[in-house]
Amino acid sequence: MIWVYGICDRPDLPLPRRRGLAQAPLDSVRADALLAVISRHVHPPSEPALDSLWVHERVVERLMAERAVLPMRFGSKVDDDEALTAVLEVRQRAFLAALDRVRGRVELGVRVLRSSAGGNGSAVAAVPAVTPPATGRDYLLGKLQEGKRVDKTAAAIHDPLAALAVDSRRQPQRSADELLRASYLVERGGIARFRSAVDRLQTAHPDAAILCTGPWPTYSFVEDPTRLAATPGTPTIGAR
C-alpha cells in the first residue's frame, strides 16, 4: 500500500531526508516531469491521530521548501506503483497546470468569530444579547437584519483580504457566532502584507475576533484527486 504526500515538479531533485508516517522512509514514483512523494506500508495508519496529521503535514511542507507541490489530503493512498504511475500519466496535463497555479504560493486560513469584548477578542458571545422580540414579525425581521449584519461584516473582512490574494475560497459558516471561514492563496512573499492587513482589520472590527493561520500547503486550491475521477475509468488516488 502506498501513502501519497504530494505530487511535485522537479523530479531531478533528491528527496528530503525525512521520515514519513510510522517512521517509513520517503520514496517516490516518477512519471515524466511529475514526481509523487510516497511512503510504503503494509498496514497504513487508518486513524487520523493528531501526530500522524502533523507528520503528513511536515513532509508536504518540507517538499514545498524547494518545489511546487500539489498537497494530497491526509489519507490519500493507492494500491501499488502501477496504479500511481497510471494516475500521474493520465492526469499529467492537469497536474502540471495545477502546479503552475500553486508554485511559489501558500494558503492562509482566516476564521472570524463574533466577539462581545472590544478590541482584544477576549470573549466571544454565542448569541448577541438582545431583548426577546415582542412579536413574530419582530422575530423574523430581527433574524433578517442579523443575517445582513453578518454578511456585511464578513464582506468587510473578506473583500480586502481577497484583494491581496491570487485566489480565495469561502467555506460555509459552521456556527451562529462564526462570521467568516475562508482560505486565501497568497504569494509566499506576500504573507507579511496579508498579516498587516489582518491586523488593520482586527483594529477596525473590535466586535470580531480574527484568527489567521498558515502558511499551509495549498490544500484548498488543489482539486480533490478523488473528484478528478469524474470520467469513468480514470485512475485516481483514493482519499480516506
Binding site: 492562509l108 422580540p133 423574523l140 480574527i210 489567521c212
Partner: protein, 116 residues
Amino acid sequence: MDSPADKLLNAPLDLDPFARDLRRLDDALTGRVRADPENVERGLAQLVLTIIELLRQIMERQAIRRVEAGGLDEATVERLGSTLMALESRMEELKQAFGIEDEELNLDLGPLGRLL
C-alpha cells in the same frame, strides 16, 4: 515535537472560542456511537434534536427569504414568526433538559461534510 503554535499568524488573546473546533475534530477522530445503557437516551435525544434543528433552520431560512422577497401579508408574517420563535424557545428547553450544547447538534456526514 512539531507544534501547531507556529501556524498562528494573527490571533486574538483568547483562543478558546476557536478551539471548539478541536473538540469537534477530536470527536470526529475518536467518533464512536455511545450506545451503552447510560448514554443511549442522551445519544438518541442528540440525534433527534439534530434532525429537528435542521428542519427548524431550513424553515426559518425559507421564512426569512420570503419576508425579504415581500409579498406576504402581515398576518402570515406574524404567524410564521411566532411559530418559529416558539419552536426556537422549545428547542432551547429541550437542549437544557438533555444537557446538549449547540455544537453537539450536528452530524458528520463524512465526505458530504457536516449537516448543520
